[in-house]
């Protein structure tokens, strides 16, 4: 039989004769050549739109940013580039605000990522029970994900208002003095982190839930037979099985935290790119924006972008090391 006869689609062919003879005349040489071309070149045609856009708007800019970071480029005349070597990077390392931004990015990153993922894990654990209205809980917990950075931050600015904000009112009801959320270093960073946490906890919970549902039931059965309590089952069955997923979410959240931009920008109100009066919550993303579009130094902004890229590469390398260590320990 021919190849098709074994295939499921051919299971429905009308007659047990070769499918070639399907009432169609044998194709001429021209048609046959066209067909051969189609088979061998169509894959490239299929991937070319993607790689065309990807090359023009992804790969080329990535490399060109590196090139621009070695030049003096002004915002007013972006086509005029003057070679300065590593000067932009030297300026960067000398700038106290750069180190400030790096520190802020790190602290806000930890403040937002750690509680977010822990809460997501807990929520996923709860969602994994058999629940009434299971879909409702999932959709409701995901709604913050549908809210844009801008809309979310504007509400939180109001909630964290110093004089009339709801958070301070609630604290006052508990007998705690009002906090000047925007002007304190820690308070502002906690406030910015809370916006990130609010938007992403539900999303991560769903990712953990998906991973939990993939854990085979037998593992829990045997754990239960061994007399493991539910808490112990969570600790010794669920968490180890989720390790790759947890690592994945840690990496994704870390990348997100490195790029943090919209939340601090809008939390700062009118002079948002500074990240507060004393730059107390200026992140690297904001610093880049300030250098390029408020101080008009596109070259320096490019240097910041590539520094961020290098930091991400370091994170990726660390991630790979950890993943390898985890694999070895199993």
């Amino acid at each position: 039989m021919t190849a098709t006869a074994r295939t499921p689609a051919a299971a429905g062919t009308p007659l047990p004769r070769p499918p070639r003879a399907q009432g169609r005349p044998a194709p001429g040489p021209w048609r046959r050549r066209l067909y051969r071309w189609d088979v061998s070149y169509s894959p490239y045609a299929f991937i070319s739109p993607f790689f065309l856009f990807f090359g023009a708007f992804g790969l080329f800019p990535l490399l060109y940013t590196g090139w621009a970071s070695l030049h003096r480029v002004e915002l007013a005349s972006p086509d005029h580039m003057e070679w300065v070597g590593l000067h932009n990077y030297a300026r960067l390392l000398d700038d106290a605000f750069f180190w400030n931004a790096l520190r802020n990015t790190l602290t806000i990153g930890v403040l937002s990522t750690v509680p977010q993922l822990l809460m997501a894990l807990w929520l996923a654990h709860l969602l994994h029970y058999r629940l009434r209205a299971a879909t409702f809980w999932r959709v409701a917990l995901l709604t913050p994900y549908a809210t844009s950075v801008a809309a979310a931050t504007l509400v939180f600015v109001l909630l964290y208002g110093r004089d009339y904000g709801m958070v301070n009112w609630a604290l006052g009801a508990l007998g705690i003095d009002p906090v000047d959320w925007q002007n304190g270093t820690w308070s502002s960073q906690i406030a910015v982190s809370s916006i990130v946490i609010w938007r992403w906890t539900g999303y991560n919970a769903l990712i953990y839930l998906a991973a939990m549902q993939a854990v085979p039931d037998e593992l829990y059965e045997s754990a239960a037979l061994d007399g493991a309590s539910r808490r112990q089952q969570f600790r010794y069955v669920t968490v180890p099985a989720l390790r790759p997923t947890i690592l994945f979410t840690v990496v994704v959240s870390t990348i997100g935290a490195t790029q943090l931009f919209g939340e601090p920008l809008l939390f700062g109100g009118a002079g948002g790119q500074k990240g507060g009066a004393s730059h107390q919550f200026q992140t690297l993303g904001l610093y880049l924006y300030e250098q390029g579009w408020f101080n008009f130094h596109l070259g320096r902004a490019s240097a910041v972008a590539w520094t961020m890229f290098l930091i991400l590469l370091l994170i990726a390398a660390a991630n790979m090391l950890i993943a390898r260590r985890l694999r070895k320990s199993h």
Partner: protein, 329 residues
């Protein structure tokens, strides 16, 4: 060769008289062969008798405490959104008093109107709809086709190209902002929508997502059979790949629509308040463009409402899509 799964008795040997020419026919045939999962698939574990019996400690019903904690988190998730509506229906004076308002006022229409005209929210919504719609369409089309090529076709460098695609999934948008800005300044595209659409028209994640889906969902024999029948590649895409890929395409469309709707960093740089997307207009509001808190919140409400509406309608599918993407990705 009885491959029936639907219980309909089938004759031995030659099957029905028609080859699957249309999408529905392909779908029906696939489903009959058990290649495609049934239409209504629940994201959760199917409550088959087997798992119901062996529910050892895990698939227990949630207790009252579980519901209580979930309710608290749900309230926390929904409260800022509800409060957006509450403040959008008040006036600025009321927002400058303690305690803050807890219930709706009467000025919703008025504030929304002000936001619509003063913050350009009408134009912003239209622009965003255009941008997000185009991006979702382009992403789904290009990524499905490329994902199919990576999943089922053999060609030179396919491995290396796929690796390149995956490797750039994590490159942050900040890295390309400066050259992109230089290009659109050169082309005099500042403030024009194509400067926002074109850079996000394809996504590496989309290609990977579609590849992973088609790898499992599309039997290679089906493509080969169509080939033997002399179908051209375009025909195969249209009559075989698209019907099979439809569920994943819908998920990818929704995800890229949400992402494009909420895209922030690049639109802020490429557009101004004269021709904004929703996020740009909201940024203008937040930075003191209109110094009225109630109007600002009305703008935020306007900018969020369309997506919230979509979430109430398609929430189940979006949740399912995110969870499926999580396991595969």
């Amino acid at each position: 060769m009885t491959l029936t799964t639907t219980g309909r008795p089938r004759r031995e040997g030659p099957g029905p008289q028609r080859r699957p020419r249309t999408r529905t026919a392909v779908l029906r045939r696939l489903r009959r062969l058990g290649r495609l999962r049934p239409r209504r698939q629940r994201p959760g574990p199917a409550p088959t008798p087997a798992t119901a019996r062996t529910r050892a400690g895990r698939q227990l019903h949630g207790g009252p405490l579980t519901y209580a904690v979930l309710a608290v988190f749900t309230a926390g998730s929904l409260f800022p959104l509800v409060w957006t509506a509450v403040t959008a229906s008040r006036d600025n004076m009321r927002l400058a008093k303690t305690p803050p308002p807890f219930w709706f006022g009467t000025r919703l229409a008025e504030n929304t109107g002000t936001a619509w005209t003063e913050a350009n929210m009408g134009l912003a919504l239209l622009n965003t709809l255009l941008v997000a719609g185009t991006v979702a369409l382009g992403t789904v089309l290009f990524c499905t086709v490329a994902g199919f090529a990576f999943a089922k076709l053999k060609f030179r460098f396919s491995g290396a190209l796929l690796l390149l695609t995956i490797g750039t999934m994590m490159v942050p948008p900040q890295l390309s902002v400066v050259p992109l800005f230089m290009v659109i300044a050169e082309l005099k595209w500042t403030n024009q929508l194509q400067s926002v659409v074109l850079p996000t028209l394809v996504s590496a994640f989309g290609v990977f997502f579609m590849r992973q889906y088609l790898l499992e969902a599309l039997p290679g024999e089906l493509v080969e059979a169509a080939r033997v029948d002399g179908a051209s590649s375009l025909r195969i895409i249209w009559h075989v790949v698209f019907p099979v890929a439809r569920p994943a395409m819908a998920v990818l469309a929704m995800l890229s629509f949400v992402q494009a709707w909420n895209d922030f960093f690049w639109p802020i740089i490429a557009l101004t308040q004269e021709n904004p997307t929703v996020q740009v207009a909201l940024t203008g509001l937040g930075r003191g463009y209109v110094p009225d808190q109630a109007v600002i919140m009305a703008g935020a409400l306007l900018g969020t409402l369309p997506l919230l509406l979509a979430f109430t309608l398609f929430g189940k599918q979006i949740v399912g899509g995110i969870m499926r993407g999580a396991v595969k990705g």
